[in-house]
């Protein structure tokens, strides 16, 4: 009996000690969470691009009054959106700042999850939408909703046409002039090359379709502020032209073997293949640094010198193309306990210097003209490439801004995938009917 008691006594003492240690650890943890000195800690949810620069700015933008703490979001845009939405729908007061993909801004703003940006900054962004402010027009357009500003552009991404100079030369294409999709597909097919696009069943496929439709002067939907009553415009000449181009590529020798599941990464390897002429590829700005990093490893200087870039191809000859616009905007959570601090921090994070650092250190292009000038002056990128990025964002076409964007994107993906099944005669029409039904809640997605 005694020994049992002793054993129990020892065990309970050990347990008590473990419990005490746990409580102490918890207390220490919560103290750290409070900044140790009672300073509020603002959580900044970031996507996993350029995290080192975000960490740096979290430190330098912290003040005597508050501290910034970087929290990492998942890799995929859909997962990022889901995680943020779940927090904000639950009115989470610890979501102070967040990096938002431009297509989420309208959704989040409409749901009342974002603080409105006011004052001179909002004025500057609104002016930029008209083409007068420092922000690039394409980037400024992504953060406005219902004539108000709900986020601050941080970096602006865009797509350009990357290609092998030798391939374009063999095809006799004058790349100093705008080229059309038709020309690019023909040039690649006739000269043993390919055309790289993003056509898996995911968001980037909608990016491509949207750029094609806008390039022909049309829209997937318009009057999006009407919510579910938005006007569905994809069943139009522009929609049919977009479908023609997708079909032309799918039926062409220039289509890459994995066309139906292709993404931003799959066609990178097709630029400098062991055999073959290489490719024309529409892709984001990261491509330059990606190939530059391979020089001396799997790429020779000569090969790298053969890499060319041009403005996004035209859908219709003579009509300016509408390059896709992406990037990241910084939003302030509507339920933040310290909205003023958070807004101040958001300004600091999106400062000109921060944008320059992101461009030079991480290849993430700025959203303001002033920052572009600095990046251009640094000599890190060829001057004409920087200029191409800037004009592409400025004259680019954003995806539809709608509180129902996820539905619009999903409905388009459902009817336009796979690219091999696209038919100009039926796809735009079918997708318009389906999209209308989905928006009106008459059809499942």
């Amino acid at each position: 009996m005694r020994s049992t008691n002793g054993l129990w006594g020892r065990r309970s003492r050990r347990r008590r000690r473990a419990a005490l240690a746990a409580v102490a650890a918890l207390a220490a943890g919560s103290l750290t969470a409070c900044g140790g000195s009672g300073k509020p800690v603002l959580n900044w949810y970031v996507n996993p691009d350029g995290v080192d620069t975000f960490q740096k700015y979290a430190k330098s933008c912290s003040t005597d009054q508050y501290e910034l703490s970087v929290q990492l979001l998942p890799n995929g845009a859909t997962d990022q959106r889901t995680q943020l939405a779940r927090r904000l729908a639950a009115e989470d007061s610890s979501t102070d700042l967040m990096n938002l993909d431009p297509v989420f801004v309208a959704e989040f703003a409409n749901a009342g999850w974002l603080q409105q940006v006011e004052g001179d900054l909002a004025d500057s962004i609104t002016a930029s939408v008209q083409g007068d402010g420092d922000y690039l027009k394409g980037a400024a357009e992504t953060v406005t909703w219902d004539d108000k500003v709900y986020a601050i552009p941080l970096w602006a991404n865009t797509q350009v046409l990357w290609y092998r100079k030798s391939l374009a030369q063999a095809a006799g294409l004058d790349m100093s002039q705008p080229v059309t999709w038709d020309q690019v597909i023909q040039a690649a097919a006739d000269n043993g090359g390919t055309v790289g696009v993003q056509a898996n069943k995911y968001e980037a496929y909608v990016v491509w379709i949207n750029a094609l439709v806008q390039g022909a002067g049309g829209d997937i939907v318009s009057d999006t502020e009407a919510g579910r009553d938005a006007k569905v415009d994809i069943d139009s000449d522009a929609g049919r032209k977009a479908a023609e181009i997708i079909k032309e590529l799918a039926d062409s020798k220039a289509a890459q073997p994995d066309l139906t599941v292709s993404n931003e990464g799959t066609s990178l390897g097709q630029m400098f293949p062991k055999d073959g002429a290489g490719e024309f590829m529409v892709n984001w700005t990261f491509v330059y640094k990606n190939y530059e990093g391979l020089v001396g490893d799997s790429l020779t200087d000569q090969q790298f010198a053969d890499l060319g870039w041009a403005r996004y191809p035209q859908t219709v000859a003579g009509e300016a193309s509408k390059p896709p616009v992406g990037g990241i905007d910084i939003g302030v959570g509507a339920y933040s306990k310290h909205p003023d601090f958070a807004m101040e921090a958001a300004r600091c994070i999106t400062s000109e210097q921060a944008q320059v650092d992101l461009a030079l250190d991480n290849g993430l292009m700025p959203s303001t003209n002033a920052a572009y000038d600095k990046v251009s002056a640094s000599g890190d990128y060829p001057a004409d490439l920087i200029e191409l990025f800037r004009t592409s964002v400025d004259e680019g076409g954003p995806r539809p801004k709608s509180a129902f964007y996820a539905m619009i994107s999903g409905a388009i993906q459902a009817k336009w995938h796979s690219p091999t099944s696209v038919s100009p005669g039926s796809t735009p029409k079918d997708s318009a009917t389906y999209l209308k039904d989905v928006l009106e809640g008459k059809s499942l997605l």
């Binding site: 859909t78 889901t82 939405a85 779940r86 729908a89 959704e107 989040f108 409409n110 749901a111 009342g112 069943k201 919510g227 579910r228 139906t260 599941v261 509180a403 129902f404 996820a406 539905m407 999903g410 809640g441 008459k442 059809s443 499942l444 997605l445």
Partner: protein, 308 residues
Amino acid sequence: MTAPVKPAKAKPVASDRARAETRLGQKLVAPAIVLMLLVTAFPMLRALYLSTFDYALTAPDDRSFVGLSNYLTALTDPLFWQTTGVTVLYMVVTVAVELVIGFIFAMVMHRVIFARGVIRTSILIPYGIITVVSGFAWQFAFSFQNGFVNGWLPFVGDDFNWFGQTGSAVVAIMVSEIWKTTPFMSLLLLAGLAQVSEDMIEAAKVDGATWTQRLTKVILPNMRAAIMVAVLFRALDAYRIFDNIFVMTAGAVKTESISFLTYRQTIEQFQLGMGSALSVLLFLSVLVVAFAIVKLFRVDLAQARQES
């Protein structure tokens, strides 16, 4: 016949103390019952309520009452029936295959003489692995770039993409599901096997019954309850299949199950109204499946009784 029952019923002529104890007991469990009702009934009622609205989380101002319209939309939508069809296919095939393999495993675990622990443990290992992890493992296995499946199968080309079309993608998902949950089936069947009296088997042996006769006339009929439980549990589980699909195809090429459709409506599209309607339909269809299986086995039971 009723005489022996009566005293048993009349027995609790409770004393004051016993009644007080009962009352105290009731008071003590009352909070737990209230809590349970809150936890289980509240979400269900809330889902029922939400399902009568056209309500997207991102457009709270546009919320409108639509009655049963969401149910009507879902039930008349080909996508709903297509996903239901695929879900039933997953359920029927995986449960059937698992029943056979699971029974063989149960027999092995039951009869094994040496290394009993090791063999039983190794059969049970897949069940201990998290479904998402096994989903990833099988996704890699079926990948045409770095998987081993194409290399092992002589009738499949090395560059065959299992996830490129519905048929093969469904097969890949089923394989991962079967691999993961067969141990659960075999565990339940092992419990049933253990209940079959050795004396009966011995008696059948003495009477000259062959192995097949002993299996079909003695072992299986006596395991009916265990088989029913195993099939019921697994069928309900399989009907809610989600993780494997999420990891392996993300619902592409028409491999989406009804749970996945519900998830997409609610979590990806933020359509709380339609998502709730679908989850209510999912709940009802699970009830139908459970009812059908119980009914099916009862019929068997009655037939067996007549035979014997």
